[in-house]
Amino acid sequence: MAQSRRDFIKRAAALSAASYVGISLPINDHNIAKAEQGVSWHRGSCRLCGVGCRVELGVKDGVPMGLRGISDSRTNFGFVCMKGMHFWKCMRHPDRLTMPLYREKKSDAFKEISWEQALDIAANRFGTAFRQGGGEAVAYYGSGQALTEETYLFQKIMRGGLQSNNVEGNPRLCMASAVGGYLSSFGADEPIGGYSDLEKAHCFFIVGSNTAEAHPVLFRRIMRRKLDNRETVKVINVDPRVSQTSRIADMHLQFKPGTDLALLNAMAHVIVEEKLYDEEFVKTYATFRKGKNEKTTFDDFKAKLADYTPEKAAKMCGDTFSPDQIRTAARWFAGSKGTVSLWTMGLNQRKRGVWANNLMHNLHILTGQLLKDGADSLSLTGQPNACGGVREGGGLCHILPGHRLVVKEKLRRQVENSWGVPEGRIPAKPGLHTMAMFSAVNEGKIKAIWINCTSPVQSLPNCNLYNKGMERDDVFIVCTDIFHTLTTQKANLVLPTAFHFEKTGVYGCTERRSQLTRKAIDPPGEAKPEVWIVREWASKLAAKLGDPVIAQCVKPFEGLEEGYELPKAIWDEYTQKLTAHRDNDLRGATYEVLGQMADGVQWPAPTREHALTGGTVKKFVKGIDPMADSESKDDLPYQFYGPAHPDRTLWIWLRDQADPEEVPDAEYPFYLSTGRIIDHWHTMSMTGRIPELLRANPYAYVEINPDDAKKLGIGPGDMVEIKSRRGVNILPAKVYQGPVEGMVFVYWHDQHKDRMINKVTKDAIDPGSKEPEFKICAVQVKRVSGPTPLKPFIV
């Protein structure tokens, strides 16, 4: 080494913080993961991604002591990732919000107030907004991290009480295109199979997902399968960026951002031309579609694919791989004994995200790589309860609990009758989707908005634009959270909530699996579970507006103890009344059953007996899925009873390559893409307060391909300006053969104003799913200086 070890450390650290001021990093004792005197262990789910790992929290004398995985859980087999191992350290963090905070104007300082005062203020302001503008003047913006009971109760009060379908949540930003894809290809939301296919798969097709960082414990299962079967299991990784996930890949197809629809069509082309498709399966179970009401034929499909020969597609994708590689990928995909595809935001956060999902499903339908062991078209969800709480619980503007569409009168009536509210109470028109909702905030049309457990100030695309609205003094904002975030900084009222394991409720993960976490410790100070907050608020709102229907919405829950009895009653109402005979039937998955299971229950689970087996491993398969039997219309082994396909077939879609909304040009010559890093969760309000996690990645940087860096005169660590038509960041460079040439990549967790990449991203949306195209926009890339010391920043 040319320099001493000491010098190296000193200089390397200069890249890190110049100041440590303002970040509280209490050091907890090391994890105590095995039995220790006086420690009791409490089962629950991990809080920090969509995998659904089961964990146990160790508690001694009411104080959390450590966390360990549960070995007999079928989600994680005892393994946890770094975030999972450490999230319990948030529980006793000194920055926890412990008292309600209020300010009349957003320029005022917050003052501590009592719960009585806080709930009065919230009821008054929402009541006033409702009186002035009706249901369109109020809104709820929730989270895929809220418990199902919380999302369900919030949306019940909004729809049944305030007559507003302005119910949205951050899953719109990550999962909406996957929902659209499942509904339009398979007729029903959520995957057919699940994680149990991973150990039986012979080919993995990982596209638009850095599974190693975003879903580490699931990646471990894929890695294990590959390493134990190096010659017989193939891994294909498809991404414009080489990532940690690529380390286990036999083939990495790196391409020009936004051209993967062409690649997927080219694989279909090979499968058709080489007759690798399952003719009997397609003939029996599939139909071809140009539009929802426009059927077509196999021959039309084949003719469409003529535009996507491997040669043509390779060119469209930027000539970064050969036509023969496409052929090989298609042969591996079609010819394996079982192929599992996995994807996340690379396909979903796109202007044509639904189409990308359809083209992925096309390959599985064509090849029959579905409904059998080791085969599935598996969209990984990003958050722990985006599926369970939001997709199933009615947490989006166009859906009601139990996968019911708002626009269907019959389905609205079912919900109204279940709630005992007058028919017609739920508006027939869907509410505003996320980007429309925050546009309405910008315009002052929404006068009161409740933001729960999420930070849109940082997580919306093109966030500078939407933050202006949230600063308006005529828009009343309530935030419920455990820590301050950039969004609480724009709120009038901040309500401290109980954290995970400080309350009881259910999370539903990627694979239709619902899992219970019971309260193990008390929340700090006066923090309260959201279900208590909503119930009390609704009671005051009913009095304020003199509306007995609002009171009716919470009447079944009056007086119940909030740590267990209240969420149990909410879960019972939701599952017994609103999932009955729906495709996500959860009637068998009571708290009593969930409490017995190491790893919860996969729906459909209409009966207690079926739930106690773990539920349904494969949807639509007779003998496995009880609804495939109860809904059966013929002698075929597979029954596609999903609500969106009355013809009960799988749909193969004719979809063309579609460019992103914004592509590079002479003025903005580079692609920008963004993603999640392993050490941090979303906007790092939790993980940034845990020393191990903060130190691992104290701030965001921009990854630049070495060839681009050379052309631009950018050296490692140089400060680089990333500028789009919407905003600017200045970040240190990491010169790295990760992104394809012509593309830069930035992780999105950093709260610092100079490194908050959603100032730069684009807010174009998919016309079907309304999900924004976070993943692709055009930017300028310019060196502004040599390396500069940086500050980590947590609000």
């Binding site: 190296f8 450390i9 890190s16 110049a18 020393p691």
Partner: protein, 127 residues
Amino acid sequence: MRNILKRSVKTVFAVVAGSVLIITAGAALGAADGSLSNHPELSQQEMLTPCADCHREATPEIEKQWYASVHGIAMVKCYQCHGTFETFKVTPSREDCATCHADMLDKCPTDKSCWECHVPHMFKERK
């Protein structure tokens, strides 16, 4: 891939060369078992450097073994087993391993440390 991570090492060095700020070593390290006594003293700012950024150069063999192991591929980083500066242990205890491998503690001999059978950083079973 290996080359890619090599490049990130260069990133750190290059930053070093351009940096005008040399931070004075400050807070003493507080590892619970005193196992950091041979480690250079670090300021709070310096502690914001991921372990592997230095150890790729300071202890290259260990870093290589880890990188090629299942822990390296699955991104189980240094701090997940060793803790951070204030809680650092050179040799993780059975309890540390138990966070993920609790079932193995019930199956393995109780009179041995995990590393007596599983080679540290490589995690291959000793033959």
